[in-house]
């Protein structure tokens, strides 16, 4: 299993440029609309995460904002 996962990642990445996107760039207007991003203001989102971290035992994997929206 330990060796399969990196190999799988390699295979996926090596075909990255040949995949035909099923959502065309000109079809991504809705995804890029600011209403689709409730965490569009980073200072505001960071503060609320800070409140949650202070009041709760759990932490990490918050917001899922690091990846952007893939609509560039």
């Amino acid at each position: 299993m330990k060796r399969v996962i990196p190999l799988l990642a390699l295979a996926m990445l090596s075909t990255a440029c040949s995949i035909e996107p099923w959502v065309k760039p000109y079809e991504r207007a809705n995804l890029a609309d600011p209403v689709m991003n409730p965490n569009r203001d980073p200072a505001s989102s960071a503060y609320l995460s800070h409140v949650h971290d202070a009041r709760e035992g759990a932490k990490g994997a918050g917001l899922v904002s690091g990846g952007g929206c893939g609509c560039n």
Binding site: L13, D41, A61, G62
Partner: protein
């Protein structure tokens, strides 16, 4: 720890190097480009009022791009704390303190790759925290997928204002994987996994646990809490954002958390954003629940009852219901002087915390030790800010 977490952990640690190498290799064979974050200034006032604790202060964020491929940012953040929490009222004195945090970072984009590096320094009278973070993200699969790998490291110093000789380190390392996937022209999917390793003095030098003591009139006494010196946490989350048939969005997510202290937590959230003219209105709900740490107890049977001792309500079993509402007013949408656009924002969250094994000792009597009513509290959280894009 669940088996699937171990599998993901292996994938992150072993495959991450391979991932990074291929992400870098792809720099030479890409066409469409990643985009830098927009130049902006945010002036925010934040306020928290709950459980006898008030925290207010500003947060100022400025971000500016330069040399086509770079964007730098700086964030100044302050917490002015006034605390008379139940812990403070139980065995200490109300206090005030100030925490100041400065963050500096840099983003770099090249073709489909974005790299971020930053540092944060937080200072208060009895706690210094220095954090450095790095992430690299790559658009792939026809730009429908974005993968981010991140690492951050924190080196903290814990002090005690009533003991000038006390000074202990508390460090952490965090490894993060994020994937964002375009599913349809109206639906986004996000996944994040984060492993955090803490090491050092992880408890609070001021916090105490209570134990049964029949030699005193109250029936119980206090002793300092003792935590393990290490903690490993795993969190995995997914999120969906859906563009409705009319111009509005529905979003929601789930996070699972577990750690080596025995805490398991579930977090659910759902929200709706609706534009009305130049306004955005947002309503959301968040539910959080966790079980207690293995070494937590509301009342230990005797002094030094076990190696590790905790009575921090954040390590107890509890549920929290949180309701949020907010409004954004957009102005200067066609530009105004040097401004491209701006917004005025106000967000309010109401949070309810119901503790299931943390008693309100302020209502304790000698006859009710260990049977006091359970503690609960509510909190009001506000964010008021102006955002300017230039």
């Amino acid at each position: 720890m669940p088996v699937w977490f171990r599998v993901v952990d292996v994938a992150v640690t072993r495959a991450s190097i391979v991932f990074v190498l291929f992400v870098l290799l792809q720099l030479v064979q890409t066409a469409a480009a990643a985009v830098l974050p927009e130049d902006r200034l945010d002036l925010l006032y934040h306020g928290y009022d709950g459980g006898g604790v008030e925290v207010t202060g500003p947060s100022v964020l400025v971000r500016k791009s330069f040399a086509k491929s770079f964007s730098g940012y700086y964030n100044y953040y302050v917490d002015n704390v006034s605390s008379a929490s139940i812990d403070v009222l139980s065995y200490a004195s109300p206090y005030t303190e100030k925490r100041t945090e400065n963050s500096l970072g840099l983003d770099y984009v090249h073709d489909k790759t974005a790299i971020n590096f930053g540092v944060t320094a937080s200072r208060e009278s009895d706690y210094d925290a220095d954090t450095a973070y790095f992430s690299i993200s790559q658009d792939m699969f026809g730009d429908l997928t974005n993968v981010t790998l991140g690492y951050s490291q924190g080196n903290n110093i814990v002090r005690n204002n009533s003991d000038p000789d006390f000074e202990e380190p508390a460090d952490f390392r965090s490894y993060r994987l994020g994937v964002t996937q375009v599913l349809t022209k109206d639906l986004l999917f996000g996944f994040a996994y984060e492993a955090i390793s803490d090491e050092g003095y992880l408890n609070n030098p001021y916090r105490s646990v209570r134990y049964v003591d029949t030699t005193v009139p109250t029936g119980f006494s206090w002793q300092q809490e003792v935590y393990p010196q290490t903690r490993t946490s795993n969190a995995a989350a997914f999120r969906l954002n859906y563009y409705l048939p009319y111009r509005a969005s529905l979003y929601g997510g789930y996070r699972y958390f577990s750690d080596t202290w025995g805490i398991k937590a579930d977090t659910y959230d759902i929200g709706y954003t609706h534009p009305i003219g130049n306004w955005f209105v947002d309503v959301n709900y968040r539910f959080y629940s966790q079980n207690k740490a293995d070494f937590y107890s509301d009342l230990f049977p005797y002094f030094n009852a076990q190696n590790f001792l905790a009575r921090d309500k954040e390590l107890s079993t509890f549920v929290s219901n949180q309701f949020g509402i907010g409004a954004t007013y957009l102005f200067a949408q066609n530009g105004w002087g040097f401004l491209k656009s701006g917004s005025v924002n106000f967000y309010y969250n109401y949070m309810l915390f119901d503790y299931e094994d943390f008693s309100n000792v302020l209502e304790s009597t000698p006859d009710t030790v260990g049977q006091e009513p359970l503690y609960n509290m509510s909190a009001h959280v506000i964010r008021a800010y102006v955002s300017l894009w230039f």
